[in-house]
């Protein structure tokens, strides 16, 4: 710790951009900014033992949350946690096998299993997450805002029904097409759970929340509306004000959801996260002043040269154009194997870019 990046106080660029207010420089944070590409993260994770132990220890979660802020002049911290803490708290038994991704000991496959699922109590069942939010917020001491997050109900449901990651989503798609009412029931429960979870994070100090709809993009348009977007709309409508009494901005990110941008922009969220495939200038034309936009550099650019990072960052910034409402980010998380120096190049390029 102790880097100059943590010394400046009251950086509210992210909050201003999410409210579409003018900013002096485009704020930037990066999905998975605390992660395996950082040697200090790998060291902390090594000490923790396994990934869930890292998530469940608020002091270690604090440590890895702050690591990228010590290195880079980022405009926000994001809670270090996993999207699958909620289904874990519902009794599914989350575990991680090396190289295999997340798995559940008890996948949900029947209407009876869905009806038996409890709604977690945030403080009782997910207190380790809320404790992490509290200590991170305290430690940040206003230097940058803290972003909380959850997976979307649909995205959580994919892991719960498949029992882990999937390529073809065979189990949940079979449920979707054969028994859509059972899937509705599962998603209703998850929506209630996520509202409680995010309100818990807000009460603990989260100043912005992002909903990660990582797998909404594998649905047909009709199914996206019914099984993903509708539930995210309910969540947005159910969130409480922040501790200062103001609205907590919600960023809604559906990977591969660019072609539903106009639907998403009407969800009640304050910002839409774009993956890297959708042209951000076109996105801005489509949404007008309805929402802010977050994104959307191809995360693979970070494997290339400093010159390429600068050129592609400028392309995104110029694509959005002048005026308020842009939060710079990648179009997906930082990949393992990225050189941290390229991340520094990116943050500097965004901050040094002239605003129109």
């Amino acid at each position: 710790m102790g880097a100059t990046a943590l010394d400046a106080k009251n950086n509210d660029g992210l909050l201003r951009a999410l409210r579409r207010q003018p900013v002096e420089r485009t704020p930037i944070w990066l999905m998975r900014q605390a992660g395996r590409y950082l040697p200090e993260y790998r060291a902390t994770r090594g000490r923790a033992g396994d990934f869930m132990a890292l998530c469940q220890n608020p002091q270690l979660a604090l440590e890895v949350t702050l690591q990228p802020l010590a290195r880079f002049d980022l405009d926000a911290a994001i809670l270090f946690s996993d999207i699958l803490t909620v289904p874990d708290a519902m009794g599914l038994g989350l575990y991680f096998e090396t190289g295999e991704g997340p798995k559940f000991r008890k996948p949900v496959r029947s209407r009876a299993a869905i009806d038996a699922l409890p709604i977690p109590d945030p403080e009782a069942d997910l207190g380790y997450v809320l404790d992490a939010v509290r200590v991170i917020r305290q430690e940040l001491d206003g230097r940058v805002p803290l972003i909380g997050f959850s997976g979307s109900p649909w995205t959580l449901a994919t892991y719960m029904v498949e029992g882990g990651s999937s390529r073809d989503f065979r189990q949940i798609k079979t449920l979707l097409y054969n028994d859509p009412e059972a899937l509705d029931a599962l998603l209703d429960k998850l929506s209630e759970a996520v509202v409680g979870y995010l309100n818990g994070q807000i009460a603990a100090g989260a100043q912005v929340v992002q909903i990660f709809d990582t797998w909404g993009g594998v649905l047909t348009t009709d199914a996206y509306r019914r099984f993903s977007l509708r539930h995210m709309e309910r969540i947005v409508a159910g969130l409480h004000p922040g501790s200062d009494g103001g609205q907590v901005p919600v960023i809604l990110f559906t990977k591969q959801g660019g072609h539903w941008l106009e639907l998403i922009a009407k969800s009640g969220c304050q910002a839409v996260g774009l993956d890297w495939t959708f042209d951000i200038g076109r996105a801005r034309q489509l949404v007008g002043d309805q929402v802010a936009l977050q994104g959307n550099l191809d995360p693979a650019v970070l494997f290339a040269s400093t010159a390429a990072v600068r050129a592609e960052a400028a392309r995104v910034l110029d694509g959005f154009g002048p005026g308020p409402g842009h939060v710079f980010n990648l179009g997906h998380g930082i990949q393992p194997g990225v050189n941290p120096d390229r991340v520094k190049d990116l943050v500097d390029a965004v901050h040094n870019h002239p605003r129109g």
Copy 2:
């Protein structure tokens, strides 16, 4: 063989729909209609030994091409082959490892390697594919049209540079961002190779060709235009007339490319293939009478019940609406593990659906 499905002669529904002429019933064919979900395919492949031996033996390729037509009342045959025959003919050494997907012994990683690549001569280097086209066309004897195909230059390049399948496209994205001119040079060669290959298939008897741009959807919009779409436009412009002197319709399929539909529709192709995520009714509004549309049932529907197959097929057909220009298909290939009875349910549902 010998099923009644092969008895009706001169089914030109596919060709009429691609030309946006009226048809009595919506024509249907299915990506990967000859494949592992069919027990007779698995038997032939077992006799062939490995996958490439199956592709390289025209009699066996004929056999598996005709298998789905013996079972189902499909409106087209598609050449059984692999998209990676072209890079294999360029000397990269294609092989398949069980459960691992395709691999190349000699991936292309440098400008020198790109400059050294030969352009294959279709008859000399890919004669086994053209022989397969000839025997299939002869055996079909006009009952249904024969579709030839190629991978898009960009899609072929991903495998050539990565050395096989990829999740993050790290190698080719690094080339793209660090040395775009080298990638242009590779894609120029591949475009020339694909034009020759498809013209070879057309001369051998292919009546329609489809370009599979399986991985175009992982690009930014600017990169898609430069590194994928532009080359497909060159290919469309370089194709010869068919043996009857008429234009051979081209179907252009970019997976996850729905948000570029208006760009693709201006490529010169006769039809755009849609994956299952893009609403086909909206697609039709966007393209008007520029092109026909092919698609776009979620392939996972085939894991569900007969009732679900019928309902979702009707949703796609009603979504397109009345009038000409629709070729029914899945939004991606049939997955292994599908029950062939559901494919029959689908073909029957499409053919029995009232046309407006």
